[in-house]
């Protein structure tokens, strides 16, 4: 051994992991950003109320037994002329409580959004890793496909996929399958972002010597991509996933608004807005306004959070 003792040892940590995490730059940046704090709170409230919708909602809008047609078109915070019931955000034409439908609708919107982003993420990361690592023809085929898909608006791609999938599913399953088809359509229209970012990060990582060290001991490409490269390309993916989530929620709402998304039996926020806009000019503004405001708050705060995350994780922007 060398005779010089090892003088540069790092001091032993006596703090818990939580205490260390609370002192990190990331948490510091979070505490200093009012936008991040507010949007985080809004997202948390909305997500939690969607998750615990059965506990919060006053009625179950999917249970016909709990509905009273006499309660139809009740304005917010006004007692109904016939039954005397009061509703926080009013009711729609069938007497469904708007507040409850929003909570249940948000569940579907969030579920479709998260599932679509996860699907796009898995697909995009896989194809991005493969094209970045192998290069050559594999890369050319994958990335040119991605480029071609980028030239079409993603909503158009989603509608196309949705239409084809609907065409090949049997009629009796259409309503059940609608949600899954929606996830597939939005996911397939969104993988390009992930694939491009992961590919470029993979190109950087694969030229580093730790990958060479893994190759020379005979590790297979699959193991190198998953265990060595993937952990190092994940942080930009996290940022894109957050921003994509906002876009996926809006895409779902757009499709549902156009009538090709979630069926009226499982209304998402977009379906609720479509139903509501029919009553806008007859004076029942609340059926449209409240779902629309919820969608706006959800998409905007997720997006702002994503923007902040991008800035916080990118040291060059500080």
């Amino acid at each position: 051994m060398t005779d010089t003792p090892n003088l540069e040892k790092t001091p032993v940590r006596d703090k818990s992991r939580f205490a260390v995490a609370m002192e990190s730059d990331f948490v510091y940046a979070f505490k200093r950003s009012p936008v991040a704090i507010v949007s985080c709170i809004v997202v948390l409230i909305l997500v939690l109320s969607a998750v615990f919708a059965p506990l919060i909602a006053t009625t179950n809008p999917f249970d016909p037994a709990s509905l009273n047609l006499m309660n139809g078109f009740t304005a917010p915070m006004e007692p109904n002329a016939f039954t005397g019931d009061t509703f926080l955000l009013g009711t729609d034409d069938q007497g469904r409580d708007v507040f409850s439908t929003i909570l249940y609708g948000m569940r579907i919107s969030l579920f479709v959004g998260v599932a679509a982003v996860l699907f796009a993420m898995v697909l995009g990361i896989t194809l991005g890793l493969i094209s970045g690592y192998f290069g050559g023809w594999t890369e050319t085929i994958i990335m040119r496909t991605a480029d071609v898909q980028l030239t079409f608006p993603s909503i158009l791609v989603a509608m196309l996929i949705f239409g084809i999938a609907k065409g090949i599913t049997p009629v009796e399953y259409r309503d059940q399958m609608a949600i899954w088809v929606l996830i597939l359509a939005i996911g397939l229209s969104d993988w390009v972002q992930f694939a491009r970012v992961v590919r470029s990060a993979t190109l950087v990582e694969k030229s580093k010597d730790y990958v060479a060290a893994a190759r020379l001991i005979g590790r297979k490409p699959g193991a190198i991509m998953l265990r060595h490269i993937l952990p190092n390309v994940l942080s930009p993916v996290l940022v894109i996933a957050t921003i994509s989530l906002a876009l996926a929620i809006i895409a779902e709402a757009t499709l549902s608004f156009l009538g090709v998304g979630a069926p009226p039996t499982q209304p998402s926020l977009g379906t609720l807005i479509r139903i509501g806009q029919g009553f806008l000019f007859s004076g029942e503004w609340w059926i449209l306004l409240f779902p629309a405001v919820t969608l706006l708050a959800l998409a905007l705060s997720v997006n702002l959070l994503g923007d902040w995350l991008r800035d916080a994780l990118n040291p060059r922007l500080r």
Binding site: T2, E8, K9, T10, Y210, P231, N232
Partner: protein
């Protein structure tokens, strides 16, 4: 006995423009010959050093030896097995287990998301070996402490990281370690520590080193045999004493002249003349003739072969 036999080894890289540009601009394919017809043997338990300027093909040879690059001509035999052409997978994997590499940049050669323990045992794990307590034992052998196994690479300095790289290289109990400029990214004070560690480990583990370096003092200190590369060709090969006292090739003489020396402060340093030529279109005859002060007409037309001169080998028409 020779552990490594390098025969007529060549490697060229395709540096052509994309196909469409070549068709439009009517240009032929361009190849860069990084290594041409290199021959040398490395005896078991010895240190063979390759020296040369940037772009002389040192690292390319190292990477071909460990199997990261495939030769475009000639072959490398390690323990009698030619890794690039051997078809028996069991033989290849047995030989691969005996080869390891230490890289130049200790910041890029450790995966930043992995704990030191996992990094060190990875070569053993790849072959399904027993890894319990291995990382801790190796860390102590390279002069770090066993507690460091749970840390991440960013918690270490450059010299400490290079020790971790050495520990990783040792974990699969290799016979040959290719060291690609292992100290050039380190502080001068730390360089000596790492080099001393390497020579200690060589004795205790019975290792054979291929040391790639551009630092002549490092090479003089470590090597048993030195090969000097110029533009992808071996121009001289000798043991350190002969090479430093009686360099045969004018290029080696020029390198030794240009090397900084502590005992010669204030001396007039003659900078080497000229640049290393473009390897895509190497000069005809001896590749060194445009920079050589002794060049004669024969040097411009006929390429000199590597000749045995005393105990050294040199590729120069005029050397004797």
């Amino acid at each position: 006995m020779d552990l490594v036999k390098v025969k007529n080894l060549s490697r060229s890289f395709d540096v052509s423009k994309p196909w469409l540009n070549r068709v439009i601009e009517r240009q032929p394919k361009l190849f860069l010959k990084a290594v041409s017809e290199v021959d040398f043997d490395i005896a078991e338990r010895s240190t063979y050093a390759l020296v040369g300027e940037s772009g002389s093909g040192k690292s390319t040879i190292g990477r071909m030896l460990v199997g990261l690059l495939t030769p475009s001509g000639g072959n490398v035999e390690i323990e009698g097995v030619d890794l690039a052409h051997e078809t028996d997978a069991a033989k290849v994997s047995a030989v691969r287990a005996d080869i390891q590499m230490i890289f130049q940049d200790p910041y890029a050669s450790l995966n930043p998301r992995w704990r030191v323990r996992d990094i060190i045992v990875e070569p053993v794990l790849a072959r399904g070996g027993e890894t319990k307590g291995l990382a801790e034992r190796l860390l102590e052998q390279v002069g770090l402490s066993a507690e460091d196994a749970g840390k991440f690479p960013h918690e270490f300095s450059g010299g400490q990281r290079q020790r971790i790289c050495i520990a990783r290289a040792l974990s699969s109990e290799p016979r040959l370690i290719v060291c690609d400029e292992p100290t050039s990214a380190l502080d001068v004070s730390v360089q000596a520590q790492v080099l001393n560690l390497m020579s200690d480990l060589k004795d205790s583990f019975g290792l054979t080193y291929l040391l790639i370096s551009h630092d002549l003092t490092v090479v003089q200190h470590m090597a048993d045999r030195i090969g000097v590369l110029y533009l992808g060709r071996l121009v001289e090969e000798a043991d350190p004493d002969t090479l430093f006292s009686d360099p045969k090739h004018p290029y080696t003489q020029m390198l030794l002249e240009a090397a900084p020396r502590l005992d010669a402060f204030g001396r007039e340093v003659v900078p080497p003349e000229g640049e290393i030529p473009n390897p895509i279109e190497p000069p005809k005859g001896c590749a060194f003739h445009p920079r050589c002060p002794f060049a004669v007409d024969r040097c411009r037309t006929e390429r000199p072969d590597l000749r045995q001169i005393g105990t050294s080998r040199a590729a120069c028409h005029l050397a004797e």
